[in-house]
Every structure is written in structure tokens, then in C-alpha cells.
């Protein structure tokens, strides 16, 4: 049970933003800009960074829902998502994405751990300032979302099937603030 009285039966962050739409509206706006609006990184790649950070933070709700979104967006290459979650090497992952995921993993632990060498490695494989900025901010943002979702002990479905429709919704509709059931 969640630590506070959020709408019952609503999973994860959705229950929290229904409880507090004043802050929730801006969190959803941030997610939409960061994960969907134009960027040199595709929405699939950005969802992959979100999934990687959430897996490292052991946040089941965020990891499962963003992994589901990433699988939808990667379509035929969806197996890349589980490779990243389990730390397995795969030809589906570009050297540039490997370097950006490395930076995101450092940010997940602490911003101070990102080294000049980490950034130089990403640049060697074609990452520019914008790629690096977005990778850092996505990793930082999920260091927030993961703590928000788990810090209030929000409802976390355990059946992986429950995340598939969430992934489809996120892939097609993006981040739309959910409304409290009447």
C-alpha cells in the first residue's frame, strides 16, 4: 500500500500525479519534451536511456513501463531493450548509444562520476553537445521519477503483461496527464 492516500488501483506515477496534479502537470510536460519532442536521439533511444537508469535504480514500475514503450518504438529491434536491462552486448546497439548509456549510468550514481573520458568516448562515436545534454538530463530526470514512485510506495503491478498496454499508450500518445477517476 502506498504511504499516502492516492487513488486506489491506479499504478505508479499515475496515482501520484492524480493526487497532486499541480506538480504532476509539469512532470508530464517535462517527460513529453524530453522523451518525445525533436532531439537528435530518437524517442526509442531516449526511452532506452530511461529504462537503463530505472533498471539500475531497481524501480520496477518505471523500468517495466518505459521498457514496454521502448519495445514498441524499437519494433523489430525490440530485443535491444532486454539486452540493455540485463547488461548484454548486442549488435543492435550503436557505439554512440553504448557511450551515452555509460554516461547515463554514471549520472544514475552521481553527476560527479561523469569524466572527460566518458564524454570524449561519446564524441568519438559521433555524439554532439545536444546528445550529451539530453542523455544527462534524461538520466537525472529518471533519478527523480524512480525515487518519487518508490519513495511513496506507489502500486507496482508484478505481472509483466500489465505493462504492455502502458507501453503502447506511451509509444502512440506520449505523456498525457492522467485525470483522477470521478
Amino acid at each position: 500500500m502506498a504511504h499516502i492516500s492516492v487513488p486506489e488501483g491506479v499504478p505508479g506515477i499515475r496515482s501520484l500525479v492524480m493526487f497532486r496534479p499541480e506538480t504532476g502537470q509539469h512532470l508530464y510536460a517535462l517527460a513529453q519534451v524530453l522523451l518525445r519532442d525533436p532531439s537528435p536521439l530518437s524517442p526509442a533511444e531516449r526511452e532506452l536511456i530511461a529504462t537503463h537508469v530505472s533498471a539500475r535504480n531497481n524501480c520496477t514500475f518505471c523500468m517495466s513501463s518505459h521498457a514496454a514503450a521502448a519495445r514498441e518504438l524499437f519494433a523489430d529491434n525490440r530485443s535491444v531493450v532486454d539486452c540493455v536491462i540485463h547488461g548484454q552486448n548486442t549488435v543492435l546497439l550503436s557505439e554512440k548509444m553504448k557511450a551515452l548509456l555509460n554516461i547515463a549510468g554514471k549520472v544514475q550514481m552521481s553527476g560527479k562520476l561523469v569524466t572527460d573520458e566518458d564524454v570524449a568516448e561519446a564524441r568519438r562515436h559521433g555524439a554532439d553537445d545536444r546528445d550529451i545534454h539530453d542523455a544527462v538530463l534524461i538520466a537525472a530526470t529518471f533519478s527523480m521519477f524512480n525515487r518519487y514512485v518508490d519513495g511513496l510506495a506507489s502500486l507496482t503491478p508484478t505481472d509483466p503483461k500489465e505493462y504492455e498496454p502502458m507501453g503502447k499508450r506511451l509509444a502512440t500518445m506520449g505523456y498525457v496527464l492522467p485525470k483522477k477517476p470521478e
Binding site: 506538480t23 510536460a29 517535462l30 564524454v119 553537445d129 538530463l137 537525472a140
Partner: protein, 182 residues
């Protein structure tokens, strides 16, 4: 030197905020509601939570920028501010605020570190669901802001009085629509 090319001379988060107005907008609107909006927690209490988390994350810019604001709102000196941010349990603050700072400290480690006992204790001192929610979200948010600032290797003035001296003007300016070039 910062990891990416940022507008010169802007301290801390102001560099990336100036660089990427698209993400800055939701981030600043979020901070405005969370730290300055109508709330039973005072602005000083909320800035103290932000400062404590930024101290735990060892983010020099954030702990001094928000420490300066907390000091301004709470009308205390730098020494008292440091005591509160470093060891809130022995500081001259209410039991309720101590219990909320304890929750914030657990969120800093990871959302799952927050225990039901901590929540019960905060409630026993009169904390409401909304206050607990906002405490968790402020702590989570600063795990994001701290990582954004340090993950990009931003520059920060080392003279701590820089932050104390500009706090009053920053408090009047707010977060929603400030000019990062100021």
C-alpha cells in the same frame, strides 16, 4: 570546464537552463509550484529540504544556492544553516520538520529506503499526506537537479557569500520565469 559548450559565465544550472529553454520551461514551472506555491510547508522549510538533499549529494552549487535561499527565508546565519543541512536531528527545528528531513534523506539514497516507520513518525508529529508527498518529491527533484548540474560539469563560484548575498534577489525573482542570464 563543463562537458558541453554552455553560455559563458553563468553559474551552476543557469548554463544548461540558458542552453535549452525547451526543457527549462517545465523544470522551472515545476520548481515554482513545488518550492514556492501555496503550501502548509513554508518556503524556508522546502528550501531546507532541497538544501539537505543537495548537501547529501555533495552538489556545491545547489546546496549553496538553495542554502542561501533557505537562510534568507528562515532568517538565520550561515553557521546555523550549515548545522541544519548537515545534521538536522540536532538542529533547533520542529520534530515534524526533522521527521520530514529524515524521509528526504532516505529518498536521496533511493526511494525504497523510505520505511513505513518513518512515515508513521512524520504523521504522529502532524505531517499531512500532502506534506509527505511534497517532501518526497522535493528530495527526488533535487536528486535530478544535482545530477543535471554536476553531470554536465557546470561551473560554480566557490565563495559561499556569493550565494548568501544574492539570495534576497533570487527569492524575489522566483523560478517560473527568471532570466538565466541575470
Amino acid at each position: 570546464m563543463a562537458h558541453i559548450d554552455l553560455p559563458e559565465g553563468l553559474p551552476g544550472i543557469r548554463g544548461p537552463m540558458a542552453l535549452r529553454p525547451e526543457t527549462s520551461k517545465p523544470l522551472n514551472e515545476f520548481a515554482e509550484v513545488l518550492l514556492r506555491g501555496d503550501n502548509t510547508l513554508t518556503r524556508g522549510e522546502r528550501e531546507l529540504i532541497a538544501t539537505h538533499v543537495s548537501y547529501l549529494n555533495d552538489c556545491f552549487f545547489c546546496q549553496n544556492a538553495h542554502g542561501g535561499l533557505a537562510q534568507h527565508y528562515l532568517s538565520c546565519d550561515l553557521e546555523q544553516m550549515d548545522k541544519m543541512k548537515i545534521d538536522p536531528d540536532t538542529a533547533a527545528i520542529s520534530d515534524k520538520l526533522k521527521s520530514l528531513l529524515s524521509i528526504a534523506g532516505s529518498v536521496q539514497k533511493g526511494g525504497k529506503h523510505v520505511t513505513s516507520q518513518q512515515i508513521e513518525k512524520a504523521k504522529s508529529f502532524g505531517a499531512t499526506d500532502l506534506e509527505i508527498h511534497d517532501t518526497v518529491l522535493i528530495a527526488a527533484a533535487f536528486c535530478m537537479f544535482n545530477r543535471y548540474v554536476d553531470g554536465l560539469g557546470t561551473w560554480a563560484p566557490q565563495d559561499r557569500m556569493f550565494y548568501v548575498n544574492r539570495a534576497k534577489a533570487r527569492a524575489e525573482e522566483g523560478y517560473a520565469s527568471y532570466n538565466p542570464y541575470n
